[in-house]
Amino acid sequence: MNMSIGQQLKSSTKAIILFVLLTISSTISFAQATMPAATSDVASQELGITFWFYVLLLIASVFAFAVINKTLKVLELTQELNGKKIKNTYNKVNGIFFILFLVMFLSYVYYEFTTHGRMLLPESASAHGAITDNLFNITALITGVVFVITHILLFYFSFKYKGKEKRTAFFYPHNDKLELYWTIIPAIVLAVLVLSGWKAWTNITSPAPKEALTIDVTGKQFAWIVRYPGNDNTLGSKAFKLVNDINETGVDFNDKNAKDDLLVNEIYLPVNRPVKFNFNARDVIHSAYMPHFRAQMNCVPGMPTTFWFTPTITTEQMRAKTNDPKFDYILLCAKICGSAHYNMQVKIVVVNDTEYAKWLATKKPFYTEEMAKQIQEAEASVAKAREEKLALNTNE
């Protein structure tokens, strides 16, 4: 602190002027940078300019920050000279900041709930989803109340009891009764939530009803293979040994149930009929996530998993409800599975019974004579590759 306060003020005034100039000049360059560009060449040039704009902006803001910091330092020194304790001033300032933060924070939370909170999934398109959505709302209400009250207390106390020269804190080490209350009340509330969650969970994970439509879904990098049971409503059995590039999931076509199985590109579901998904994966773990039906289950290589639910709203009805003529249900991958994890999807269409029957009639079984030949060839080549590998091993 060799400089006098006067000198300091002078240098900070200079700095402020310089900062203002810098800001103006960089704003001009920004305005130039955002001019619409016609060709990609210009676009990349423009990006270069934008980059330098940001660098300049960064330098300018560091500079501005330094100026503010120095100005505050000067104020601090003036205060100390006047014999005031800077500690108390900062207690006051931070206390006020906390109450301002509380107001801003609660407004921000309100804004989030009313803006982004309206962009959520539409109402559940499955029977169990209605129950879990209800449970979600109850949990949100309870936690929301706790969230608001505790934050008001936290920031209000911070403001109200900010340090002052004359204040003495209240020596209050414990109050067993109070502590007992705030142990037992959360415990009771949580018990209610657990029990209702448990009830929903046992229902959701109970065995699928017998009349359920069964669909086989296998995840691979980076697509879903969907197999329908065909007319007999029974899926043919599978074996890992039979997997090859043609018979992607290893269906055993000697099984007569397999002969009429269908491979499809879109999942059609009849409304109000339970559907049971048999999930599997053939390379890494995937997760079949159907957000609109509140359904998700991991697909694990070597371990079959299932999930069943009853769709309650057809795609057409949902399009009307969401006022979005392009709306579609979707099945996507939610478990990290490789570089194209972000684009692994299959469309789901929920229709009424007649439309479903119509759709089913257009599908031809996967297994044809032509296919049988191809599968045999593929199996032979796999067997040959295995033998060669074995031979290599013995040579070593």
């Binding site: 989030e112 982004h116 209050y172 949580l190 657990v194 990290i336």
Partner: protein
């Protein structure tokens, strides 16, 4: 015990007077002094945190502007960002390494390693750790493991990229993604060393706390920081070996043809011979560590904030015993909740219900802790040091993130929330940001003890307010993305119609993240500048009660010249009625404070005393 201590003291001092000439190497590099090791942990942790932060900014650029190209990225990342667009595989790598670094290297080693090392001997009144040599090894293993992890960013095939949870088969098969080649091998080696380091540290912390407390320092007179570090170390010692086992089995599956985790895999046009393994087994082993791990991260932060809030509210921590019991409760329960990460892996639904019960029970001790913090602030005389601001910020984040845990712990709600951005928001707030705030609070509070200098308060205020606002701007909107069914670890949100409405929100989050990360440079500047140019620290800058403030500001081997101070009271005699100052350090005998003693002070239990 006391005889032993004095004896030890004498021989120690004599020993030092006679032989020990410290060289640069023995003082700064291969130091066995717990205070130096704490500094080494802290600075390594800070460097790793900067790496983790830069990675997060890079992938936030991709998420915020998925359609634009940034030529400077190509200059920076080369083939990983051809044409200025980040490569999807490298995006996965960055997410993975960001998670690994932040969880293990910053918030486990950087937080526990720094503060357990610094505070355990100083606050319980010991000359050093139980085994200074093992302590030194612990740091150097951590250092080597950090170097390997950072180095894996530079290799040809890219670092590990299967997510920080490295679920096999993805992480076991180099054919599944490029990062599962050499990058994954380096990840596994690095983590194996890390586990060894964590164990050495943990064993030391436990034995020091249990055996080397000074005279009068009973377990119920220990500061809550020490309780938190002790329980953290116990969690680590019991759970890290399980991760180690999991990692070793994965190494076997990758290199030696075993099938612990692999079965029925057809990849790259070829069927693998592995049969009979279970990928879900790995998840059990991983989360048996993984869940205690999140408490290994948050408990030291809670301990630190308890200490800082009591000191700066100038009030005893409210419900000292309840705080200890809830810490023990959290520590115990944390071992039987790991299955809540696996509700929808195809695990038996009955097990799912069991884990749901245990998980939601853990909210009770957490709630008690929160209410006790609030009661501590009530009618206090709050001194807003930067440490105190961060401690209050921690409480806010702990509430916000803790409450969303109630949704995720409920199995039936988890079906729709699992692996979405709701989870990302939840854990980044409750264990990421909250623990980071605990770490910042600790650094600001104990900086005088670490470096003998003061950090700049004003810069600390800027740092806090900018960071606090940025954290909420970054993570709060993510809840809603998750509720709209947007999954995590997505390279971009342009492939699905229903996700496109979130593009603007992602841009906002990215801008907030970039600004928030710039605010961290205020901290870095303040931290490194103050080491050299900070004001010299007074003996007890925050008028605190704990023993570390009785040790000389200049570091010395053995911490205290002469005898170690004895302890006569609990650490929270702040603003005690009848005493002329608003604090009474632990080493002040009751006989000197006759005017303020309460009937319960003479008993063995502090709980007996209180406001009547």
């Amino acid at each position: 015990m006391s005889d032993h201590t004095t004896h030890h003291t004498d021989s120690h001092d004599a020993h030092h007077g006679a032989h020990h000439k410290e060289t640069f190497i023995s003082k700064y590099v291969f130091s066995m002094d717990h205070k130096m090791i704490a500094k080494q942990y802290l600075i390594t942790g800070i460097i790793m945190a900067v790496v983790g932060m830069v990675l997060s900014i890079l992938f936030r650029i991709q998420l915020g502007w998925p359609d634009e190209s940034f030529p400077f990225l190509e200059k920076l990342l080369g083939k990983w960002a051809q044409g200025g667009r980040i490569d999807p595989s490298f995006y996965m790598s960055m997410v993975t390494i960001h998670g690994t670094i932040m969880v293990f290297f910053v918030l486990t080693a950087g937080l526990s390693g720094t503060f357990s090392n610094l505070l355990i001997p100083l606050q319980v009144g010991a000359r050093d750790m139980a085994s200074p040599f093992i302590n030194m090894l612990s740091y150097w293993l951590f250092f080597v493991s950090s170097v390997i992890m950072a180095w894996s960013l530079l290799i040809e095939t890219g670092p590990a990229s299967g997510g920080w949870t490295i679920y096999p088969p993805l992480s076991a098969l180099p054919k599944a993604m490029p990062g599962s080649g050499l990058g994954m091998t380096l990840w596994l080696i690095s983590m194996a060393l890390f586990v060894a380091s964590a164990l050495m540290g943990g064993i030391n912390y436990i034995s020091t706390v249990l055996n080397m407390r000074t005279k009068g320092m009973s377990m119920t007179k220990m500061p809550l920081t020490i309780w938190a570090f002790l329980l953290t170390a116990i969690l680590g010692v019991l759970s890290f070996p399980v991760l180690f086992a999991g990692v070793i089995l994965l190494i076997f599956d990758r290199g030696f043809g075993t099938s612990f985790y692999l079965s029925d895999i057809f990849i790259g046009g070829e069927a693998l011979p592995n049969h009979g393994g279970s990928p879900v087994l790995f998840q059990h082993l991983f989360w048996f560590l993984g869940h205690p791990e999140v408490y290994i991260i948050i408990m030291p932060a809670l301990g630190i904030s308890s200490e800082i809030i009591a000191t700066n509210a100038r009030k005893p921590i409210f419900g000292y015993r309840a705080m200890i019991i809830s810490l023990i409760g959290i520590a115990f329960l944390s071992f039987i909740v790991w299955g809540h990460h696996m509700f929808i892996t195809g695990m038996n639904p009955f097990l799912g219900s069991v884990f749901m019960f245990t998980t939601l029970i853990i909210a009770v001790p957490s709630a008690v802790k929160t209410f006790n913090y609030l009661a501590t602030l009530w009618r206090g005389n709050i001194q807003f040091t930067p440490a105190m601001l961060f401690a209050i910020g921690l409480v806010s984040l702990f509430i916000t993130g803790g409450l969303t845990g109630i949704f995720l712990g409920n199995a039936s709600l988890d079906i729709n929330l699992h692996d979405t951005y709701f989870v990302v928001a939840h854990f980044h707030i409750v264990m990421g940001s909250a623990a980071m705030f605990g770490m910042f609070a600790g650094v600001y509070h104990w900086y005088p003890r670490l470096f003998g200098k003061m950090m700049d308060t004003r810069l600390g205020y800027f740092h806090f307010w900018l960071t606090f606002i940025a954290v909420y701007c970054v993570f709060f909107p993510m809840h809603f993305m998750g509720l709209d069914g947007v999954p995590r670890r997505y390279y971009s949100f342009t492939s699905f119609d229903f996700m496109k409405e979130w593009l603007a929100v992602n841009k906002f989050i990215s801008i907030a993240a970039i600004l928030g990360s710039l605010a961290q440079f205020i901290f870095l500047y303040n931290f490194f500048r103050s080491i050299f140019k900070g004001k010299k620290a007074p003996q007890n800058p925050w008028n605190s009660n704990t023993l570390e403030w009785t040790a000389p500001v200049e570091h010395m081997h053995g911490n205290w010249p002469g005898e170690i101070p004895h302890v006569y009271r609990w650490p929270y005699d702040y603003s005690k009625p009848g005493h002329d100052e608003d604090f009474i350090p632990q080493n002040v005998p009751l006989s000197q404070t006759m005017s303020s003693n309460l009937p319960g002070d003479y008993g063995t239990h502090h709980g007996a005393k209180g406001a009547h």
